[in-house]
Symmetry: C2
């Protein structure tokens, strides 16, 4: 087998017009930052997801097609897709195809909201929006989102009820640039998790998040919203959500009343 030459890392040789007969699966010498073929394929597929070539819920080309497109073997494409499926970026369905993960259908209700009722099930929450406005980013939020304090953000405050009982008070900040038409009306109309709205209406898909948890005392206004006594212990959850390319696109501060609910976590 004849082998050709080598490349850099992220948008490498096998993307372009591709008249080279074959691809070097590895390199023999003097390549600065080498990465395996399947990781390059991952990067290319991710780029197509990011660019919107394949949208959430849609099917991506079959492994055989992708292998032809990238001029690699099906096994290499397979390994790339395997890892992206493990990262919840893609969903494989035997006999049907491989699909772009979406916040609809998917039970995000447990990937991004880990709260469960003490006695088993948990119905869908009802959202009540207290406030939706555009403002300048608070310093801490600007820092977390990689914005300047003068930049515009959308600020949202809402209360979520389970079975009619208020359980969650949340404050959210979103980059103003990415969420231009976001209004209280559109939020109120939308059924289901906000991430579904963000994905379909604003083209921003949250793919992972980090959370900092602590116990705090309810302030006067939080207590009022949750209809509890001031000073009640609450579970404070500070979340930063990221979209493709590890770009932070949401800061969310939740306060959970854990009297009849708890936050479930798995350590694997």
């Amino acid at each position: 087998m004849v082998k050709c030459d080598v490349m850099s890392s992220v948008t490498p040789q096998l993307a372009g017009s591709g008249q080279s007969g074959e691809i070097a699966p590895s390199m023999s010498s003097s390549s600065p930052t080498f990465s395996p073929l399947y990781q390059q394929i991952k990067a290319l597929i991710t780029a197509s997801l990011e660019s919107g070539e394949w949208k959430p819920g849609e099917m991506i080309p079959s492994e055989i097609e992708l292998a032809a497109r990238y001029k690699v073997s099906q096994g290499t494409v397979r390994k790339a897709i395997d890892e992206m499926a493990a990262d919840n970026l893609l969903v494989r369905r035997q006999g049907k195809g491989t699909f772009v993960a979406t916040h609809h259908e998917e039970r995000v209700e447990f990937r991004f909201l880990r709260l469960v009722s003490d006695d088993g099930e948990l119905g869908p929450p009802e959202s009540h929006f207290i406030e939706v406005k555009r403002t300048r980013a608070p310093n801490e939020v600007a820092r977390l989102l990689g914005l300047k304090p003068s930049d515009s953000v959308v600020y949202i405050r809402r209360v979520q009820r389970f079975d009619g009982i208020p359980v969650i008070v949340e404050d959210l900040w979103l980059p103003g640039l990415l969420f231009k038409g976001l209004t209280a009306e559109r939020l109120a109309q939308y059924k289901g998790p906000m991430y579904g709205l963000f994905e379909t209406e604003f083209g921003t898909r949250m793919i992972r998040a980090t959370e900092s948890l602590r116990a705090v005392s309810a302030s006067a206004d939080t207590a009022a919203l949750l209809e509890i006594a001031q000073g009640t212990p609450l579970l404070s959850v500070e979340r930063v959500s990221y979209t493709y390319g590890d770009k932070p696109v949401e800061v969310r501060h939740g306060q959970y009343l854990t009297k009849h609910h708890h936050y479930l976590n798995a350590l694997n």
Copy 2:
């Protein structure tokens, strides 16, 4: 290629004396519970881990050896090991071999203790054991551990300090049968995480856990141990840890003072 017949699931055909020339990678008809070869290999490797054939920290046979032993291809062994490495049961080291995961060396300090300081790093905690005794399992603990209320358990209460400041009060319950020689002295002598002690001294390795988190108010005695005011909000963490075969072997109730620390969680 000639194919032979089929099997059940967990201790299947390819374990035994093995004079059959080949193994059926799939089956054509009338097999009740079929599972792929690589999953059967996973089960066999797991059984060897469980039986202590390969101990934590030790190297397991090479892929080639295992392939010969189980009479499958190296690729099939590889897939089995890949998944077990993803589950943190095994650790691959290129050029060296595949090793049984261990609570030593490994930074369990972040797999099983998610608490971090608000300002960066977190030194190793010092443990102070308040109480270690054998008793009958409380009802709830017995239920979680799959014991009878009359069964014996080891009960431990300890306080953990970071930089000299008390941050964690923990109550633990362990099955008495599995932890026969566990005394306050051995606990106090041991350096490092308790899971290391459990693994090397008692042959019980924790491989995963589930946690329920909530915010609570410090009781009088907890407050005294943490040197804080009664009623201070604390992060309550109820953990159940499991060893091989999803067998529950520890119930741990932690109360974390989150004034200068927080619990970090990643949603992927």
